[in-house]
Symmetry: C2
Subunit: 334 residues, 2 copies
């Protein structure tokens, strides 16, 4: 008996490593990467000093949607986005990223597509792809099964001018779709309503097939937000992930303060309303599960609003004044 | 329909967060942790300067053994060990660790045991548990299914006095067992030979039930090896993981050099021979899959051998002069 008979194909694994090396020639890494793929650990020359921030996250069951559609070229962007947006919300400029990809059976073509998405995401976030692990685990995942996890480290560059205070404005940055949250609910609705991923549903407000709209990769806010972190503009930030605005906005606030949102002040994607209605999802549950069209929120003093909106607009990200900081707790939907 | 009906139990998830907070009161974190669990990302105050090293790894299908035995209190140690030993082999002192735990259904008791192992491992490695992610993914994992991944970041403290050269000695540090590699093969052998995990097999050389011997957590080499990295003793290092001595020793060497091992110079655990024989695993395959009793290898100049062995012995790690660096390539079993 050998390892291959036990379900682990070392040759296929080596082929993946070759493909990663080739891939990285198309995505040149920053000079800070002293040692990349191949060593026991990646090595990064950090010239800075101060605080590091680090986060770990996955893409949840959005991976099952990628599998159902047999489209793996953007899920790696989601993976990077979920992690670097977390690092950003903690005030960090992403330095490097590492991935963990677990599969039931190594399919080099498929893994290459996933990793290409990872490389694209890292490029967009301006961080290095420092390393990762591909694990072939027969019996944990089915032959077609897969899970993705990621890990990002950043250096803190945010100089928070002061704590958030009543009267500060919440500026919501448009999401690109569902990002990588809520897919267990989305998939349950799709099953229950017998929706067809390959069909265009005009009533969903999307001009593309449902599956394509759902799979749209998570927006990376790093490039657009970083310039606002060093000039005293931003007093608080939230990355809107699992738990929605309801649970993530309070994480940006000290005790005794909440946010009053004006739900008519920004466009909630019709697709989200449509799916929620099909699934008879209560409004509160929807607000706690979907990002409702806002993927990242900045808290800024009112006098900075115009400048922030102009900057984000120029960066291609629609931004809306969606509410304000108030005494209290949690999120109030006015 | 709500998130719970879709298979995601937010209350159970919150209970896990409560347990983690409680757990961390028993495992005080270093003062460098400015912000731990709860923020968008963990924050670590690094006073140093220079190079960072980072690695990602999982425990492979050893998790299935933990499930089969319903014992989850040490697999977290394996997870930390696989990562911090990689960081160590790259010359790093581990600063912090993050975990990614994916499950089919959140079982707070079980997750607490996993995380307690993670906390124990971090304590032993002298690093902070800076954060992590617990993902409930019905339909990716079965209700009892689970996967673990981890990420460690370290600061490079190793001052390599020179490159390895012919005549340098390979000092093998005893493993504690199979560590977390080769379990797909081990499990296949167990199935094929109808072995009973609860039974003691005297012919295996183990006085405990087979399952317990297999589950023994991976040794963490950080504390014992770190002092040797700053005094000019060590010219090369290898963490013996998937690929065994055969594939990992060459990673410590420049081109044009190999290692000649004397296989009789250290004790290979009888359990490994026994399983290999039961599974009719060819010797070369065994050497490429199991660590053969050595979990970490140091390359040192001959005149340092006595000191290194004395130091490691005092640290409780048996160490053997197992071979020497020779002109050539790869590993030669003399």
């Amino acid at each position: 008996m050998d390892y291959r008979q036990a379900g682990v194909d070392i040759e296929a694994g080596n082929e993946v490593v070759r493909r990663i090396r080739q891939l990285l020639t198309r995505f040149p890494q920053p000079p800070e990467v002293v040692e990349g793929i191949g060593g026991f650990a990646g090595r990064y020359r950090w010239q800075g000093a101060g605080d590091l921030v680090a986060g770990a996250d996955g893409v949840g069951t959005k991976i099952l949607l990628a599998q159902a559609l047999d489209r793996f070229d953007t899920i790696g962007i989601d993976l990077v986005a979920m992690n670097v947006n977390d690092v950003l919300a903690a005030g960090g400029r992403p330095l490097f990223f590492l991935d963990y990809i677990a599969v039931g059976r190594v399919n080099p073509d498929r893994l290459e597509r996933v990793l290409e998405g990872v490389a694209v995401g890292c490029q967009e976030a301006g961080c290095a792809l420092l390393g990762g692990e591909t694990a072939e685990m027969p019996d944990v995942y089915g032959a077609e099964g897969m899970d993705l996890a990621g890990f990002a480290v950043g250096e803190v560059i945010w100089q928070r001018p002061r704590d958030p205070a009543p009267g500060d404005l919440a500026v919501g940055l448009a999401s690109s779709g569902f990002h990588a949250n809520g897919f267990s609910l989305i998939r349950a609705i799709i099953r229950a309503a017998s929706l067809d991923l390959d069909r265009v549903y005009p009533e969903s407000g999307e001009a593309v097939p449902l599956g394509q709209a759902l799979l749209r990769p998570t927006r990376i806010y790093v490039g657009a937000v970083l310039p606002l972190l060093t000039d005293g503009t931003v007093v608080g930030m939230a990355h809107i992930t699992g738990g929605g605005l309801t649970e993530n906005l309070p994480r940006a606030l000290p005790r005794g303060l909440g946010v009053r949102l004006r739900p008519t002040s920004w466009p909630v994607p019709p697709l989200m309303f449509w799916l929620a209605r099909l699934g008879a999802v209560p409004e509160e549950e929807m607000r706690r599960t979907f990002n409702c069209g806002l993927g990242f929120v900045l808290l800024v003093p009112p006098e900075r609003l115009a400048r922030v909106q102009q900057h984000l607009g120029a960066a291609g990200i629609p931004a809306f004044a969606v509410g304000e900081v108030v005494p209290g707790e949690g999120v109030e939907w006015a």
